[in-house]
């Protein structure tokens, strides 16, 4: 048995060596020795090439026929343009019959108004109204064109110079609407691939700007500096790529959704440590914070050049409309061609620009209005300190006083119902106008809802007493079962 196997293997080996020693195998072609294994390799390559040239089997693609497309189009049923209308959608806000000053008229009754962000009490100010009248008679109402096409009127340029002088920056740029300022500025500077670290409590305008910029956005916990530091550390640690892309921190000076004030000194320290740029939204703090109303930078004693971009809407303290943005000369010039809300939109009506100039002049000449505002706020704090079921959640220096429920119910919808009841009762029975938080379904902010009171320098001591008493009474009634 073994012998047969041995003989077979030797025979096979002999045969293989014969093949290898065959004359063809020892040929010399063009001076190159050809060994036997080359023949096998050439055959192998030939087989591979043959297989590659064969077409692979793909199932045939059948495009839809016209009839099939017709059928699909017939069958398709779109949703309705609007969802079913619920009861809460039908509620109309109260209609004012006079100016939205500290006292206004609703439904024929005189009402104390804490729903307008008229912080310096400039609604109804005679100097401002006179300058508006002069402007209306000279320029008409609208400016009839964007800034690039004869919509730049000399009052716009005056307004920009005045604001820049007031804030101490080289130049400023004027926008025609408060909310469009921030959502035009952010996409002008932040593009796809940039990193933005934003507070989770920023308002819808900022959120829209962040979405339109297509940058990577990371949110940190509302007004929490340790969370901010942690986020910045995580983003920059070991990431050498981070040096080459632009990085921004976006915060609001005074948050509309909670009344908190951002700690600018902490933010500046973190910004310098991690090399980020700061975009500061000052709509509710311009004209309010700081000894002379120059905003958060003055409040914290930070030099204005250190903050890269500041935007503000003028619809609050300055009692006019529109917005502005300040920064270095390069920052402002860049926006004149690339900010969509500036280039593609009609410019601010000239009478509103002259109202802004008059308001800034008034603020510079009468800094005592800020002391009145601050004393009103502290008086209101005292009055609201013992309301059953409600607690003050805003910063003591903020004129936007934010009350939230001490014990929240299961859902923010139920919270909102209770708060709406309180606001409505206060208006109907005590003639005091306060408002609850209104949130759109498109808003990504999840901070707790509450009641907002906008304190003005035009409110008197008796107004403040009236609102505290009213809220105390109404809250006790509405939240009785709830506490």
């Amino acid at each position: 048995m073994a012998a047969a196997v041995i003989s077979m293997t030797t025979a096979a080996l002999d045969w293989v060596s014969v093949v290898f020693d065959a004359p063809l195998a020892r040929a010399v072609v063009f001076g190159v020795h050809i060994d036997g294994h080359l023949v096998v390799e050439v055959l192998l390559i030939a087989v591979i090439l043959f297989q590659l040239t064969r077409k692979s089997y793909k199932p045939p693609k059948k495009p839809l026929t016209e009839k099939e497309i017709d059928d699909l189009c017939e069958e398709w049923v779109p949703e309705s343009l609007h969802p079913p209308i619920t009861e809460e959608m039908k509620v109309e806000p109260p209609t004012l019959e006079s100016a939205a000053g500290p006292h206004t008229v609703i439904d024929g009754k005189k009402v104390v108004n804490f729903a307008s962000a008229n912080y310096l009490g400039l609604i109804g100010n005679d100097k401002i109204i006179d300058s508006c009248v002069a402007s209306l008679e000279k320029y008409g109402v609208g400016s009839c064109g964007p800034r690039g096409f004869y919509g730049t009127i000399d009052v716009h340029l005056d307004c920009e110079t005045r604001i820049a002088k007031f804030m101490g920056t080289p130049d400023s740029i004027l926008y025609s609407y408060g909310i469009s300022t921030i959502f035009s500025v952010i996409p002008a500077f932040c593009k796809k691939g940039d990193i933005i670290v934003a507070d989770e409590g920023v308002h819808w305008g900022v959120q829209n700007g962040l979405y339109l910029s297509r940058s990577t956005v990371v949110y940190f916990k509302h007004n929490d500096m340790t969370s901010l530091e942690g986020t910045l550390e995580k983003l920059t640690r070991g990431n050498r790529q981070a040096e080459k892309i632009r990085r921004y921190i976006v915060v609001e000076a005074l948050y509309q959704n909670s009344g908190q004030v951002a700690p600018l000194n902490e933010i500046m320290r973190l910004k310098e440590k991690y090399r980020f740029r700061v975009i500061l939204e000052e709509s509710h703090s311009f004209g309010v914070l700081g000894n002379t109303g120059r905003g958060l930078a003055e409040h914290y004693g930070v030099s204005i050049e250190k903050i890269d971009i500041i935007t503000a809407g003028m619809g609050n303290a300055l009692a006019t409309d529109g917005g502005f943005c300040i920064g270095s000369a390069r920052v402002v010039d860049h926006q004149r061609l690339s900010s969509s809300g500036y280039v593609f939109s009609a410019s601010l009506p000239p009478y509103l620009a002259s109202a802004a100039v008059a308001a800034v002049n008034y603020l510079e000449d009468n800094p005592t209005v800020l002391t009145t505002l601050r004393s009103n706020v502290s008086l209101l704090w005292k009055g609201l300190s013992d309301i059953p079921g409600l607690t003050i959640a805003s910063d003591p220096s903020s004129p936007l006083v934010f009350l939230k429920l001490k014990k929240s119910t299961s859902s923010s919808k139920c919270d909102l119902e209770l708060l709406n009841k309180i606001a409505e009762k206060a208006l109907r029975e005590d003639s005091v106008f306060v408002v609850s938080t209104k949130r759109s379904v498109l808003d990504k902010c999840h901070l707790p809802v509450g009641i907002r009171l906008f304190v003005s320098a035009g409110h008197t001591v008796s107004d403040i007493k009236k609102v505290s008493d009213s809220l105390r009474r109404v809250a006790a009634l509405v939240l009785a079962e709830h506490i």
Binding site: P83, V133, L442
Partner: protein, 493 residues
């Protein structure tokens, strides 16, 4: 559509190519110089705030077009933007990097502002009422509409706009741009489809991008291409998952501001109805300016307003104010009042501006007791048709349809843009020139906006100046019609 002759296309491309090459060379030298200088400690570690390519256009092309004492963009004015206005003279010491105002002004004929019905300046009916409302309600309400910003004026205007436009209800916003940017996300979200015209305005593009819906574009003013796109999209469904679309909205404009042409509304509505898509009509330039009683493109083309689901418009152009509106069915408006971010968070429209629109609409409808509205509408139509036909007779290439008060004159070459603009200003006519990126690169143009406050003499002066400058600059691309005296000679013979 614009017919672009080959020779002109080649010469325009060559000019842009030259400018681009020069720009790149200067950038290169700038980089060398910067590299040799050391950067300051402060900026170390920060990426530059404006990256290289982004403001290439600004630095190299825009500044060259401005490079002359009288420049073309952002000219300030010192009076109301009426038929004649005062343009402020500016000078520059540093080759047009910064421009300084002087206190000298030149009175010029205004062919650039959107003032179709002449409400831009102080008006005898509107201005006293506006001043009265200013004294009563003050310039701003400092509050959002849903908080404490709704006054009687706002509710009155909403009813008036709904009645004027022909829809059950309307909602107001303080700025036209924000109207589009905030409404489109409220109507559609993920799973929806927006089909928009390729030449739609930037506010619509922004609104479409701000919603998380998919966006497709159809060829400008082409109902057949719209039908193709609709069929394809409905059959395919959402990308990747192929689920059916939740809803489809087609967005078109009444008058396209860069082309001056009207939308082919009846055909587009027919296509949308067939495929069950919703229509959104942006009448920024056409409301108040076209149509027998100023009710816009629907009236002019005979379309029933019930067939258009959502009608949007602005008050900046024909009504001489600011702000925008949306008119639709009662349910949609109720839903928008509850959801739309601009209604909930943005300051409400300034009360004097609201009063201006109320008075302007009353004048147009004749409810002020005079026939000034009808006169204005007739005059703007006559003026536009006269001006357009005269320009075409002179040999200019003018775009746009009859009855539209917007007429672009083609320039093409980038060097002709500043030349045309400055020459016209020297002869006291103010025109607007538009180039990339508002128009396609090769199709730069000068855009004329006619107003009802232009008298026949104003138009004749404008035509004379434009004809002279056109000869100087060389933009009469078509043969001019022979003048009438030739016919007289033939008669004599």
């Amino acid at each position: 559509m614009v017919r672009l002759p080959y020779l002109i296309a080649l010469s325009t491309l060559f000019s842009y190519g030259l400018l681009f090459a020069f720009g790149q060379m200067r950038d290169f030298f700038r980089k060398l110089i910067d590299w040799s200088k050391s950067t300051s400690e402060d900026l170390k570690g920060y990426a530059p705030i404006c990256l290289g390519l982004e403001d290439f256009y600004t630095r190299r092309l825009y500044l060259r077009i401005q490079a002359c004492p009288i420049d073309c963009f952002s000219r300030p004015i010192a009076s109301a933007p009426d038929a004649w206005f005062d343009v402020v003279e500016r000078y520059s010491n540093d080759n047009n990097k910064t421009l300084h105002r002087t206190s000298n002004t030149t009175k010029c004929l205004n062919l650039g502002s959107y003032n179709y019905l002449g409400f831009a300046a102080a008006d005898e009916y509107c201005t006293p009422r506006v001043i009265e409302s200013l004294k009563k309600y003050s310039p701003s309400t400092c509050s959002a509409r849903i908080d404490g910003g709704t006054t009687n004026l706002h509710t009155e205007l909403e009813e008036l706009v709904a009645r004027f436009v022909g829809k059950p209800d309307a909602i107001l916003f303080g700025m036209g741009y924000v109207t589009n940017s905030a409404i489109i996300p409220a109507l559609l979200g993920n799973g929806g489809l927006i089909i928009s015209d390729s030449l739609n305005h930037n506010s619509i593009v922004n609104g479409a991008r701000g919603s998380s819906a998919s966006v497709r574009v159809f060829q400008h003013n082409s109902p057949s291409h719209l039908e193709e796109v609709l069929r394809e999209q409905i059959a395919e469904g959402q990308p990747r998952t192929h689920r059916p679309w939740k809803k489809i909205i087609v967005i078109v404009e009444g008058i396209y501001s860069m082309e001056g042409e009207l939308c082919k509304l009846p055909e587009i509505i027919a296509v949308c109805k067939k495929y069950k898509a919703y229509t959104y009509l942006d009448e920024a330039h056409s409301i108040g300016a076209v149509g027998k009683s100023g009710r816009g493109v629907c009236e002019l083309l005979g379309v029933d307003t019930d067939d258009v689901d959502i009608m949007m418009g602005t008050f900046t152009k024909s009504f001489g104010s600011c702000g925008g509106y949306i008119a639709a069915s009662k349910e949609i408006i109720q839903y928008l009042k509850h959801t739309c971010a601009a209604h909930l968070y943005a300051t409400s429209m300034s009360p004097p501006a609201v009063q201006q629109v109320i008075s302007a609409i009353k004048v147009i409808l004749g409810e002020d007791g005079s026939s000034r509205g009808a006169q204005k509408l007739a005059r703007v139509r006559e003026n536009s048709n006269f001006f357009r036909s005269e320009l075409q007779k002179m040999g200019f290439e003018v775009l746009g349809d009859n009855d539209s008060p917007v007429m672009p004159i083609m320039l093409y070459n980038p060097a002709k843009i500043p030349a045309f603009s400055r020459e016209c200003l020297r002869q006291e006519v103010a025109v607007v020139t538009v180039a990339f990126p508002a128009t396609p690169l090769l199709l730069a143009r000068a855009r004329i906006c006619i107003s009802s406050s232009h008298s026949r003499e104003d138009l004749m002066k404008g035509l004379e100046v434009i004809s002279n400058v056109g000869d100087l600059v060389g933009i009469k691309y078509f043969p001019a019609e022979p003048p009438k005296c030739v016919e007289q000679d033939e008669k004599v013979l």
